[in-house]
Structure formats: C-alpha cells, structure tokens
C-alpha cells in the first residue's frame, strides 16, 4: 500500500465507525483520484492542506452532531483559525516544519519501539511462553546441557510443553536448483506445541520423530516453500535432499512464523527433529529451551519448581553443582539486547521533540504578544476569555494537524532508512512500518503538543488587562519585558540540548575508540567463504579432513592468493565455544569450578593468514596429523576413535597469551598438558598473541586453538588472503567445484565486513544520537536567537533612553546579551544532570569511557554556551548600532 493511502486510512480512523463503514471506501477512492491528479509540488501541497482542513472540519461535525451551537462555534473557530494560518503563510510553514521534524522523528522511533518491544509476539497466548536457561554463577544465560533438558521436561509440572532447540548444524539443499545452504534449526517435536502455531500446510512431526535415527523429516518455512519450490502444494509428503539424505517434507509453516532466529538474526528456513539420545550428552551444553507455562502457572512458580529439580540433578550428577535455572519471558528475551538502545533512542528523540516544541511555544508566544491588542479589542467587544482561548488553541491545532501530516511522511522516510541501516541483529525490525498505531501516535503527539504548547500563549493572555492594552495602543508591551515563561522555555531548551549532546558525545567517542581497537589479527585483504560438508557423503572425521586439506592446498595455488587457511569459527562471525578444561597434575577442581576457555579449530596456515604473531613455541605443522581423530569426546560413553592405540603425533594445542597467564601464572606453559571433556591429554606447543575474536569491545579471554588435522570439522570457513579481492573468486570457486561439484558455498564476505557488521549497531546508535543532538542544537540556536532578538526589539525604547543618558555601546551590548547568556548558563547546568542520567542509562553501550567523563562534559557545556553566546550576541550587536535619536523620535 502506498504511504498516502496509509495516511488516508489513518485519517479515516478519526471518523465515527458507522460513518467510516458507510463512506470510507468511497472517500479513499476519491482521495486516491485527487492524489493521482496532483502532479506538481504546489498541487500536492494544496491537496494535503485541503485534506487536513476538510478532515478537521468534518470530523468535528461528525463527532459532535448533537450540540448544534457548539458545533457551529467550533466551526467558526476552525474557520477563523484557518484564515489566521493562511494570513501568515511564512510563519505557519515554519511552525509546521519545526513540529513536523519533532513529530516525524518521534513517530519513526516510536514505530520501532512498537514493532520490536511492544507488539505481542505472533504466537498463541504469547505471554505464557518462556525461555529456560541454565544459570551458573555470574553467567545468567547458559545453553542447557544434554543431561538437564530431558530431566526438566520429564519432572516439571509447571509447563504445558517444553522443547529444545539446537543451532548446531548447517543444512545444504541439493537437487532443487543450485545447491544452497539453508538456515535450519533442530528442535524436539514439542517445539510446535510450545509455540502454538499450526502449520499452513501439512502436519508437523510428532514424538515419533524424536527417536534417534528417525529424524529424516522436515518442516519448511513459507519463504523456502515459495522461493525454492514454487509454492507447490504437492510438496507435502515428497522428499528433498538435505545434507545428501532424503527428508520427507511434513509441513509448511505460515509466512509470519520465523522463530527462532539464529545468531545473525536470520529466520529459519527449516525445522528438523533433533532425534538423538540427548540425555547421553552429559556436559554438552548445546540446547536452547523454550516452554509454554501451564494455564495459571506464573513464571516464578515455574522457576521455583525447576530450581528444586536442578538441585536433584546436581545430587545425581555432582559436576552440576551450582547449576541453577533461569526462567525468562520469551518476548523480553528476544529483545533484551536491544531494549536499552531503543529506549535511549526514544528518549533522545523525545528531547528533540521537546526542544522543537519549546521553539514553537516561543514563536506562538511572541505572536500572541504582538496580537494582544487584537485580543483586547475582541474582549472589549464581548468575546469571552474561553472563546478567545479556544480560537488560539484551534490555530495551534490546525498547525499541529499539518505537522502530523508532514511528520508522517518524514517518519515513513526515516523508517525506511532505519530498516536498511541496521543489520539483522535487531529482532522484528523488518516488520517496522507506519501502521495505524504509528499514525495514532503521531496524531496523539501532535494533539498533546498543541494542548500543552498552544496553551502557553493562552495562559499569558489571561493576564491581559483590556483597558491597559487598549491604552498603550500599538506599542505592544509597555514596560521592560519580563517574561518568566519565555525564560523558562530558553532554560529548558538549553538544558535538553546539553543533555542530549552529552549522551551523543559519549556514544560517539566510545564508537571511535572501538573503531580504533586493534583486534589482534589483520582483517584487510582477507575473504571468508563458508562451506559445510554433507554428512552423507563425508562420513567420518578423516574424510572431512582430507577435503579441507585439499581445498586449502588448491586455493593456495590460485594465482594472486598469498595464503589460505580454514577455521570452524571465523573471528567476529558469532558463536561461542566455552569449554571446561582440566590441567594435568593439578587436583581435580570442585564441580562447577573448573577452568574454562574458548577454543577454535584452525588449519596450519591460520596464524600466518591473519598475521597473528607467535611469541613462543610453534604453531601447527603437517606432522601434527593424527590417524585417530577426533580428539574431543563429548560424553563418557562415546567410543574412542579407531587407531587410537597406534603410535602417532601427540594431541597439540596453541594457546593465547591470556590463557598462558591465567592457567599457568608464573610458569612456562610450553609442554604442559590439559584435557578437554573426555579428550586425551593435549600438549601446549606454542603461545600466540591475543586476538579479540568475539567482539572488539570484549577484552581477550583465555582461548586455545586445536588443529584441524587432529579435530576435523564438517563446517569450516576458508580464509583467503589476496590483494586482488573479488578477482580471484571465480578461480577459487572452480577449484572447490573441481573437488566437489555439488557442494554449496554459503557466504563469501570480506573479513573486514564481518568485523564491521559487528560494529554496525554501535555505529548506528551513535550516528543517530549525533544526528538528533545536531538537530536539537540547531533548534536551540534558532530559539535563543529569536527570543533575544525579539526581546531586544521590544526594549528598543529603553535602549534609546539609556544611550541618550550616556550608556556606551558596549554597555548596551552587555545588557542585551547578558539576559540570554544567564539563561543559557542556568540551562547548561541543568543539562549536565540530564546528560549524566542519559550517560548512565547508556553505560551498557559505552566502551572505555565513563558516563561521567569530565572532559566531555566540560567541552560540551563550553561548546553549547559559546554557540548560545553567539546567538545572543548577534541581536546585541544590532542593538549597539542603534541611533538613539531615531528611536526616541519614533516614540
């Protein structure tokens, strides 16, 4: 639907429902016809002003049909207001523009708040859905172990259903067009009961699919169904090849069912059963658990019950000591990471709106003052104060309706920018739209600002003494101007601007600091390329290893490629892999207190490709290849790999400097040995420099690297260093196709882009805050300048007398500027407090800068004051140049 249609529909909501039902369709048709006829900007402007006027008029009439007199006088008010607005088009357009900026940007951010934070999830009784995490000491959200979930599910009575989700597998689809990598999740069969969403087509899989080895069935997304299979209804019951195994397509989910998104924020393409002996995977924390609370059971009750079950698990399985449970509502979990950022943006945009409103109030106030005589005449002719007030409010209302209309266009434009500027990290962002809620919000904001700021001049007018005003005639205000209200508005504007600028400056500085952080690896000129070997064709670790050795070797031979390597987790590509380690020769730690480290699997050339230095020892070499692979056994019952007993290279690890410091403080780690879960002892062969592999803002953590010659992987990302960029890609693709023509390539991205994507939310929020602060600053300057000029103009008589009595030009300049500067100083002082509050609430987004960073505060206050001083000095200078005789003669 076109934007103007949406606005028309929004406006229709103002009419009574019966009227809307009866005439709405025809009215929309009529508006659409006129819109299509309006081709020039003037015609367009005329159309929209006409629409606003017509709507305001007829809505009043339709809504208040009973009291004819009131309706008639209201219509007069509107008509009168319309005349006033048209008589001063420049003023009206300026006010509408000012307010439209505020209303538009607030509405845009509101629609984000609404879509992401407020709107209920599209699941049945979404308020009963929860995430269940394992909680261990400070880590409140741990993935759930294979030995925990089945026990929780079996023993708890608080849940109507509970299901596990695993993101641990890629799915390549073959035999339906080009090979493709799909974003698939594995779930237990209760998943669909928990979510409470029936499929659009077919039947979802039931408990029979949970039996190990019976998982060859898939539920696919609506998008996959339409894009890959042409929305063929006959697909249900047919088989598709996933990872070279045939899976029966059981069902197609409805288009809006996109849960659960993966770490990169992508909606799943398909759901398949986990279908493995989950309970045997003791200590393997790989499950995300969702549950549907039984009717009437609260989150706290469920938490209490699961806590006692967790205690029982810990008694039966001592390593689980201190593993607790954390039950959280699904909705808040989905948006937890972004809630703070969005609310800060909302606060910032509200500040912009308020500053804009202060300006508008000031303008209306100034005009009302100039019109005091007109008002006095009306009052003398018998107009009641209420009636006069109503007229003033009607004027403001017309202006704000115009602002709402224009603001909606601005909002729609901003929403498009927001949607495209923020990458996948924000859930449900793609659904942001100017919907009826946003239209209602824009109109509500416009009405609220009208009532509040339109009333400001009214309040002032109530103090007008009719006789006084008629006597002083056209000279406006008799005595030196003392406008407490205007002063308050200036103070408020400066305070709001200073607080917003402080918040923005803190965020911008932290973004720049983050941008300059040395990640410890060199991402320039490196391409990444994701590959997943289908299990059916690459059975066993040895096959997988052979493929990647060959692939890296062939790519290294491509002209233009300087070096190539492979890793199971590309730096900054998401995915964490904390794992418990046990150091040889030390007493086994108490359960729950094991040392942990992150790990990644890399090929021999990894460190050279990413320019990571090796201060001590060596990195991996071809001679590290073992015949018994893999190293890590995930659970006790897992059999040893074949040829384990043969004599061969020892298990080898390369550790980073942080791990060396933390695990072997004051000792030489080289040659020391440690175990990972149920692995044989692994020897530390070398120490490499720290790298920030997860995020630039995260300090390096203890991390070790295993060789893919010893711990082969089915899913690896190739890292290719070449100065030729994309030019080498066709040759590389050809090399991979030569090895395996059916293998899909998931994603090809420069490593620099992967790192930048991680920074994108920081970049976005600091840019937007900076933009808002700039707008607020401009509005503030305009406000201060207007008020001081106006006050100076009104004091021209006083200035003339002072100069006639011997005041120097400088005295006059000081007199005029002083008033403005004092107000700005007061405002800046208040703004410091506001800035601190904003900084505190944003502290989670700050990197290496304190919310109370003194230099930021000093710099900003001085900066804002300097700008305000200039804005006051310009009118002061004008006052200094005044020739006293001219003024006094004019009196």
């Amino acid at each position: 639907m076109r934007l103007s249609d949406r606005i028309f529909r929004g406006l229709l909501l103002l009419y009574p429902a019966a009227f809307r039902r009866r005439f709405g369709g025809e009215m929309l048709e009529m508006l659409a016809a006129r819109r299509d006829a309006a081709r020039s900007p003037t015609a367009w402007l005329a159309l929209w002003t006409g629409v606003v006027y017509d709507t305001a008029r007829s809505v009043v009439r339709e809504r208040l049909p009973v009291r004819r007199n009131l309706v008639e006088s209201l219509r007069q008010d509107v008509r009168h207001a319309w005349r006033v607005v048209r008589r001063t088009p420049g003023f009206s357009v300026f006010v509408i523009l000012l307010m439209a900026i505020g209303v538009g940007s607030t509405t845009a951010v509101f629609s984000v708040v609404h879509a992401v934070l407020l709107r209920p999830l599209a699941f049945k009784d979404a308020d009963r859905l929860v995430f269940v995490w394992e909680q261990r000491h400070a880590v409140r959200r741990n993935t759930v172990g294979g030995h925990e979930f089945p026990v929780w599910k079996e023993r708890s009575r608080s849940f109507e259903a509970m299901a596990a989700i695993a993101f641990d597998r890629d799915f390549s689809l073959t035999g339906a067009g080009d090979p493709a990598v799909l974003n698939g999740v594995r779930v237990t069969s209760d998943f669909f009961n928990v979510m409470g969403v029936p499929p659009a087509l077919g039947q979802v899989f039931g408990p029979e699919a949970d039996v190990p080895g019976r998982g060859d069935v898939a539920v696919i997304s609506h998008r996959l169904w339409t894009e890959r299979f042409g929305a063929d209804r006959g697909l249900i019951g047919r088989t598709i090849a996933l990872n070279d195994r045939s899976h029966i397509v059981a069902a197609v989910m409805p288009p809006d069912f996109q849960f659960p998104a993966n770490g990169a924020g992508l909606a799943p393409d398909l759901w398949t059963p986990i279908a493995e002996p989950i309970h045997q995977y003791r200590g393997r924390h790989y499950l995300f658990v969702v549950g549907r609370l039984a009717p009437g059971v609260s989150q706290v009750q469920a938490q209490t019950e699961l806590a006692s079950i967790a205690d029982a698990v810990a008694r039966e399985f001592p390593p689980n000591k201190d593993h607790r449970v954390n039950v959280q509502p699904l909705q808040s979990e989905l948006v937890d990471d972004v809630r703070n950022a969005i609310l800060i943006l909302f606060a910032a945009v509200a500040v912009v709106l308020l500053v804009g409103c202060c300006n508008v109030a000031n303008l209306l106030l100034a005009r009302a003052t100039a019109r005091q005589q007109e008002i006095a005449i009306r009052a003398a002719l018998g107009a009641g104060r209420l009636r006069i007030a109503r007229q003033l409010v009607a004027e403001a209302a017309l202006l704000s309706l115009g602002a709402a209309a224009l603001g909606l266009f601005l909002a729609a434009w901003l929403v498009d920018i927001i949607r495209s500027a923020v990458p996948g990290q924000v859930p449900r962002l793609a659904t942001v739209a100017i919907d009826p809620a946003a239209v209602a919000f824009a109109i509500a904001v416009a009405i609220a600002t009208t009532l509040i700021f339109g009333m400001v001049p009214v309040w002032q007018l109530f103090g007008v003494q009719v006789a006084d005003r008629l006597r002083t005639g056209n000279k406006g205000v008799p005595s030196p101007v003392r406008h407490p209200l205007r002063s308050v508005l200036i103070v408020a504007e400066v305070a709001l601007t200073v607080s917003l600028s402080i918040g923005a400056a803190l965020l911008l500085q932290s973004f720049f600091k983050l941008h300059r952080v040395d990640p410890g690896f060199d991402s320039a000129d490196v391409m990444t390329m994701g590959l997943t070997l289908p299990a059916a064709r690459y059975q066993g670790a040895v096959h997988q290893r052979t493929f990647y050795i060959d692939a890296v070797e062939r790519i290294r031979g491509v002209p233009g490629v300087e070096s190539a390597a492979a890793t199971n987790m590309v730096p900054h590509g998401g995915g964490l892999s904390g794992i418990a380690i046990a150091v040889e020769g030390r007493p086994s730690p108490r359960p729950g207190e094991e040392a942990t480290a992150r790990y990644r699997v890399v090929s021999t050339e990894y460190f050279r490709t990413l320019n990571i230095t090796t201060p001590r020892g060596r990195t991996f070499i071809a001679a590290d290849a073992r015949s018994a692979v893999p190293l890590i056994r995930w659970f006790e019952q897992q059999p040893l790999p074949p040829r384990f007993a043969e004599s061969q290279a020892p298990p080898a690890a390369v550790i980073n400097e942080t791990m060396a410091r933390q695990i072997w403080p004051g000792e030489d780690p080289l040659g020391r040995r440690f175990r990972v879960l149920f692995s044989p002892p692994i020897v530390v062969m070398g120490i490499v420099a720290d790298a920030r592999n997860a995020a630039l803002s995260d300090e390096p953590v203890a991390e070790f690297y295993l060789s893919d010659l010893q711990e082969p992987q089915s899913r690896m990302t190739l890292l290719i260093r070449s100065r030729d960029g994309d030019a080498v890609l066709p040759a590389i693709r050809a090399q991979i196709a030569a090895l395996d023509p059916k293998l899909p390539i998931a994603s090809v991205r420069p490593l620099e882009e992967v790192v930048a994507t991680n920074l994108a939310p920081h970049r976005f929020i600091s840019t937007v805050m900076g933009g808002f602060a700039l707008i607020a600053l401009l509005l503030m300057v305009a406000g201060v300048y207007c008020v001081i000029s106006y006050a100076t103009a009104q004091r021209s008589q006083e200035i003339g007398i002072r100069m006639a009595l011997g005041a120097t030009r400088l005295d006059i300049g000081r007199l005029v500027a002083r008033g403005g500067i004092v107000l700005c100083v007061v405002g800046a002082a208040l703004g410091l407090a506001g800035g601190y509050a904003l900084g505190r609430s944003a502290s989670g987004l700050l990197y290496e800068i304190q919310p109370a960073d003194p230099s930021t505060y000093v710099a900003l206050v001085l900066g804002v004051l300097a700008i305000a001083a200039i804005a006051s000095w310009i009118p002061a200078r004008r006052a200094m140049r005044v020739d006293p005789t001219t003024i006094l003669r004019a009196e």
Binding site: E26, M27, E29, M30, G50, V51, D54, R57, S58, R61
Partner: protein, 123 residues
Amino acid sequence: MSPTRKPALDERAKRLLPLTPAVLQILLSLSSEDRHGLGIAADVREFTGGRSILGPGTLYGTIKRMLDAELIDDLESPAGDADDPRRRYYRITDLGRRALELETDGLASLVGTAMRRRALKRT
C-alpha cells in the same frame, strides 16, 4: 403529486432553508442525473469553474445529513456500472427538488434585486 401532499412538501422544504452551499451544490448536481460521490464532486468542481472543491469529509458528511433529511436517496449501484461495486449512486427526492426550487427562487429574486439597484456592476 396529489394536491393534498404538495403543501406538506412545501412546509417541510421551507423548514430546511436556507441551504448551506454544499447542500445546494449537491442538489444542483443531482437535479440533472443520478450520480455517485466522485461524480458529484467532479460535477460541482466543473459548474463552479473550480472555485468550489468539496473535500471527502465535507462531501460525505453532507450526503449523510441529506439522506437523514430525505433530500436525497441512495440507490444500489445500477447494473451498468461495472467500475466499482463500492460506489453508491444518489438520487434527488421530491423534497430535495422542492427545496432546491425554493432556494434558487430566493436566490434569483435576490440577484434580481441586486441588479435593479445596480449593486451589481454588470447590468
């Protein structure tokens, strides 16, 4: 039209005078043929030379009140109009025609007076 009903119709029509510009324009437009809302708006725009453009709110608000006052009737879409089934056609009633006559008579006499007294430049 029976002679007994005519005075009653006149009485009712007089009570509705004076007509607002919008009502007058709509009656005038429907006096020549049945039209739908868009048609009325286009017709009014044409015979006022573009000086009067009825906004949708005003147009349909007025139509609603005219239906209530029985100045016009609404018809289901005539079978011939395949354009859009949503469109409703309106037809002027006897009461509407009478009110239009009375109002235009009044206006005509007003214009006549104005011309006689040379209040209007063009004689």
